[in-house]
């Protein structure tokens, strides 16, 4: 692949992502944060992201598809347990979920 082609691809990918951000910025610039429409936008955004994260965990594509669902759910459960034990510390919770998942993955590979 030529360098020019690569840059063309990166440029096109940049523009097709940036249009969403620019559109959001232009549409919402004059809105009050407590207005009904702003609150609706926030709800839609949270719902999209929750749907996306749940999909990534439950129906993963690519390499993560090889990991059994149980492994991911056990790791997440340990993460949530640490979250509440550590008085809502997201860093400790994430580290716990990561190491539990890595431990199970290593055990399965051995």
């Amino acid at each position: 692949m030529s360098t020019l082609e690569l840059w063309l691809i990166v440029g096109v990918a940049f523009l097709s992502t940036y249009v969403w951000r620019a559109a959001g910025m232009l549409i919402a610039s004059r809105l009050h944060p407590d207005s009904a429409i702003s609150r609706w936008f926030a709800c839609v955004a949270y719902a999209v992201l929750a749907g996306l994260i749940a999909r990534m965990i439950i129906i993963p594509e690519g390499a993560l598809a090889d990991a059994p669902l149980a492994d991911k759910l056990i790791a997440l459960a340990c993460g949530f347990a640490m979250f509440f034990l550590s008085k809502r510390n997201t860093t400790w919770a994430t580290v716990t979920a990561f190491f539990v998942f890595a431990g199970i993955a290593l055990w399965r590979a051995s």
């Binding site: 692949m1 360098t3 690569l6 691809i9 990166v10 096109v12 990918a13 940049f14 523009l15 097709s16 992502t17 940036y18 249009v19 969403w20 951000r21 620019a22 959001g24 910025m25 919402a28 610039s29 004059r30 009050h32 944060p33 407590d34 009904a36 609150r39 936008f41 926030a42 709800c43 839609v44 955004a45 949270y46 719902a47 999209v48 992201l49 929750a50 749907g51 996306l52 994260i53 749940a54 999909r55 965990i57 439950i58 129906i59 390499a63 993560l64 090889d66 991911k72 993460g79 949530f80 979250f83 997201t90 994430t94 990561f98 998942f101 890595a102 993955a105 290593l106 399965r108 590979a109």
Partner: protein, 255 residues
């Protein structure tokens, strides 16, 4: 709803006056840790994939900065690897990153008192991505208006630094990492956001997150292209409706 427009005495006393320099330090400190580390690790995955897809180191790093949204970057690398036509790459990346529209729509009103020019606003828009966005939605409502953009900028800068270093290291290490570690690095990002969302406590957010998490995988099974956007509209409107109903009932009860 008129009273919502005026900051209450309580809010005023928490942040008596804005201190943008202190906000910048706070933003850097908040990002330094799990947020930057998670971006570092997940961008390592992208760096490896990009190298296997035939990109060079420079374009790979520029892609991280220019797209600044992992799902779209992954789609770009995968489609480049199979030699997809340019318009197909554009459509694929746009679909994978469409979440930036509702995210920017939700974030922008919190900057309503920002007097930045249009050039500055359009520049700011480029830095809307999941990790700083979540922090902003959690932190901004209790923060002085003049502190918000400095906080966000500093938070983003630390995240992007972590992401760029991760991208480059992932590119260099492509194919050399043991498989269990690669799997764990990919798992890190959804696990982190699951924990971050567990920390959302206002009613509308909790409702939207719960409904979205239940509906997303189901509707994705029905239509991989439209499942997630439709999830956003349905679950988001449901959460908004329930929250509005309860607000109205509460304000009627207090009268």
């Amino acid at each position: 709803m008129k009273h919502d427009d005026q900051p209450t005495d309580d809010e005023m006393s928490v942040f008596p006056d804005g201190d943008p320099a202190a906000a910048r330090v706070r933003g850097m400190r908040d990002a330094f840790g799990a947020p930057a580390l998670v971006l570092f690790a997940s961008m390592m995955g992208f760096g490896s994939l990009a190298r296997e897809s035939g990109l060079d180191l420079f374009t790979t790093v520029v892609t991280t900065i220019a797209i600044w949204g992992l799902p779209g970057q992954m789609v770009m690398a995968e489609m480049t690897a199979v030699g997809a036509p340019l318009f197909a790459i554009a459509a694929g990346v746009a679909a994978a990153n469409a979440r930036f529209l509702p995210m920017t729509l939700a974030l922008t009103p919190l900057l309503s008192e920002w007097r930045g020019s249009w050039i500055k606003r359009l520049f700011f828009a480029q830095f809307v991505t999941l990790t700083p966005w979540v922090a902003a939605l959690q932190r901004f409502p209790g923060m002085a208006h003049e502190d918000r953009v400095p906080y966000y900028g500093a938070f983003s800068a630390v995240c992007m630094a972590g992401a760029v270093v991760g991208t480059a290291i992932g590119f260099e290490l492509a194919g050399q990492l043991p498989r269990p570690l690669t799997l764990s690095l990919i798992f890190l990002s959804p696990a982190f956001f699951a924990m971050v969302f567990a920390d959302v406590r206002h009613r509308a957010g909790v409702l939207a997150l719960g409904a979205g998490a239940c509906l997303g995988p189901i509707l994705h099974g029905v239509s991989p292209d439209w499942g997630i956007p439709v999830t956003g509209l349905l679950a988001g409107s449901f959460a908004f409706g329930v929250d509005s109903l309860l607000r109205r009932r509460a304000s009627r009860g207090s009268r």
